[in-house]
């Protein structure tokens, strides 16, 4: 109790330090808030606003509000339904494929056996590799003539498709290359959930005569549902912003066969300089993300 002699926390009412200390939590939090207002919220609002203008980067002095013109142009745009379809194709395709295969991988890594740490570590490496490296490497692997994939297929006397040049195959190619990292990512997240499932509960189910599948279906799956929800939500949201894996691999082509909203906004706004029109695509994208998040919450996130 020696410390009782010391002065209590400084409370000099007028000094700046005393003020900051009494309001320490606010002082600690507000720099973050101000930065985030400046670099995300205000730009977000500006983008929504730009959707109602004819702003472009070539004659940016002469912009004015044009009401809903961008949106009526959007509705009449023959590319729009294709791009929305591609985006849904990518998001649903990768989320389902990555999560299902990732769950399988997580189940394989769940058991404790000698060397399991080795596998868990090595499956981290694709997640940590820069997406641009992944994209460039897969572009080389999928090359028609010089790529390894068609070379292996030729050794096995299988047909060798032009992966990146075929409108039907372009999106599946993007999804396959996405799985290389995505499966590992989902596996790492879901593994954490699997390892937290109560052993007593599983053994009780076995005692009651449940087989492996029943234990998985009725004990494990309900226990990991919260983390499954987060993993699926994060994956789906991340796929909306997927850039390198499309831009570098297929450049959105052939034609617009693998162009998603993310690429379309980038191309329209920053390549063709039609910022206002790009922003209306942005509003469409934000709406699509919101619908996706609500749908995932409805199927996986609701507490039952």
């Amino acid at each position: 109790m020696q410390s009782i002699k010391q002065a209590p926390a400084p409370r000099r009412g007028l000094s700046l330090f005393g003020f900051l200390d009494r309001h320490f939590l606010v002082t600690a939090a507000w720099p973050s808030l101000i930065i985030m207002l400046g670099i995300t919220l205000i730009p977000f609002i500006v983008t929504i606003g730009l959707a109602f203008t004819n702003y472009d980067l070539v004659q940016f002095g002469k912009w004015h509000f044009i009401g809903l013109d961008n949106f009526s142009q959007l509705m009449a745009d023959p590319q729009m339904p294709v791009i929305v379809f591609n985006t849904a194709y990518l998001v649903i395709g990768t989320t389902v494929a990555d999560t299902v295969v990732g769950l399988g991988l997580a189940i394989l890594m769940e058991a404790s056996f000698r060397g399991v740490g080795f596998f868990r570590t090595l499956y981290l490496l694709p997640i940590m590799t820069a997406p641009i490296i992944v994209a460039l490497t897969w572009r080389a692997m999928f090359n028609d003539n010089a790529g390894w994939i068609n070379y292996f297929l030729s050794l096995a006397h299988l047909p060798q498709p032009t992966w990146l040049g075929d409108p039907i195959l372009a999106m599946p190619t993007v999804i396959i290359s996405d799985m290389w990292t995505g499966v590992c990512f989902q596996a790492v997240l879901l593994l954490a959930g699997l390892l937290a499932v109560s052993h007593e509960l599983k053994e009780a189910a076995v005692t009651d005569g449940a087989n492996r599948w029943q234990v998985f279906r009725h004990v494990t799956l309900p226990s990991i549902r919260p983390i499954l929800f987060v993993a699926v939500l994060l994956k789906a949201i991340d796929e909306f912003r997927k850039f390198e894996g499309i831009q570098i691999l297929t450049t959105g082509g052939p034609g617009i066969a693998s162009t998603t909203l993310n690429l379309q906004i980038y191309d329209t706004g920053l390549f063709y300089d039609q910022v206002g029109y790009a922003a209306s695509y942005g509003v469409l994208m934000v709406g699509m993300i919101a619908v996706t998040a609500v749908a995932i919450w409805f199927f996986l996130g609701r507490s039952r």
């Binding site: 600690a28 939090a29 720099p31 985030m36 995300t40 868990r120 090595l122 820069a130 590992c184 997240l189």
Partner: protein, 273 residues
């Protein structure tokens, strides 16, 4: 439900087969980086070809070396800035009530949902006005848009694991709130903060989209510089692979050294969120 021996063998077999698939692109990079340009583009591909260092000589003599330096500056700057601003904010979220808390917490979720392409066009216009295009300050600010919410979120989860009693005891002993944070809570949270720092550094090192738009000749990082090896009509795969190797190897070492912590950091956000 003891796993039988047969299942054990099947498990290791499947995991090994998966690792082979994971390894193939890495093997391609490693082999291609040491090939002559002719061999790297040969049709049909040659898996093994004569060995050469020429790709590395080319990569480390050209502008790519400067872009690696830029990547280091951006990564270090972003990591420091994010931690200095984000760690106290994470503490504030974990520790109590203040004006703006609910807004900040909701905002973290919001900024996780909205993709960078939505922010980037206005940021480009603002930065153009402010002269922040092609500047390290501007790039670091833009990187914060994704990394700061992530940091605050993870740090909040680490701080809320630290018993409040410890800080209360320090306050009774005469510490100010700031001192209680700096001398009691922060040292206990350091292992978590280090992991957050590593994850931010890896993310900043790997970022491509933001610098593609906001960087310029003086600040181009290696991720953007890497694409310069992809010409309009021909790709120098050997040089590209050598450059990719230079970009990937540091991250590999960090991952292998800190794998346990990184695994925990990657999953903490999801488990608690």
């Amino acid at each position: 439900m003891r796993p039988s021996r047969r299942i054990g063998v099947l498990r290791v077999g499947l995991l090994t087969a998966g690792l082979v698939i994971v390894a193939i692109p890495f093997v391609w990079i490693l082999l291609t980086a040491f090939k002559f340009q002719v061999d790297a583009a040969s049709i049909p591909p040659e898996i093994f070809s004569p060995f050469t260092w020429t790709n590395f000589e080319k990569v480390f003599q050209g502008p790519y070396l400067q872009s690696l330096g830029n990547s280091v500056i951006i990564t270090v700057g972003t990591t420091i800035a994010t931690l200095v601003v984000g760690v106290p904010a994470g503490y504030a979220i974990a520790r109590g009530r203040f004006f703006g808390r609910r807004f900040l917490a909701g905002f973290l979720l919001f900024s996780r949902m909205v993709p960078p392409v939505i922010f980037i066009i206005p940021l480009f216009l603002f930065f153009h006005e402010l002269g922040l295009i092609d500047s390290f300050v501007g790039l670091i600010l833009a990187y914060l848009s994704g990394l700061l919410p992530f940091t605050i979120w993870l740090c909040a989860s680490y701080f809320s694991d630290i018993p409040l009693e410890l800080e209360d005891a320090a306050r009774v002993d005469g510490c100010s709130r700031f001192q209680a944070f700096l001398r009691v809570a922060l040292p206990l949270a350091i292992p978590g903060v280090v992991i957050v720092g590593l994850l931010i550094a890896i993310a900043a090192w790997s970022e491509y989209f933001i610098p593609l738009l906001l960087a310029g000749p003086y600040t181009t990082p290696a991720t953007v510089g890497l694409v310069d090896f992809v010409g309009v009509d021909s790709i120098n795969w050997g040089a590209m692979a050598a450059a990719a190797l230079a970009l990937a190897v540091p991250v590999f070492f960090v991952t292998l050294l800190a794998q346990r912590g990184l695994l925990r950091g990657l999953t903490a956000g999801a488990v608690k969120g």
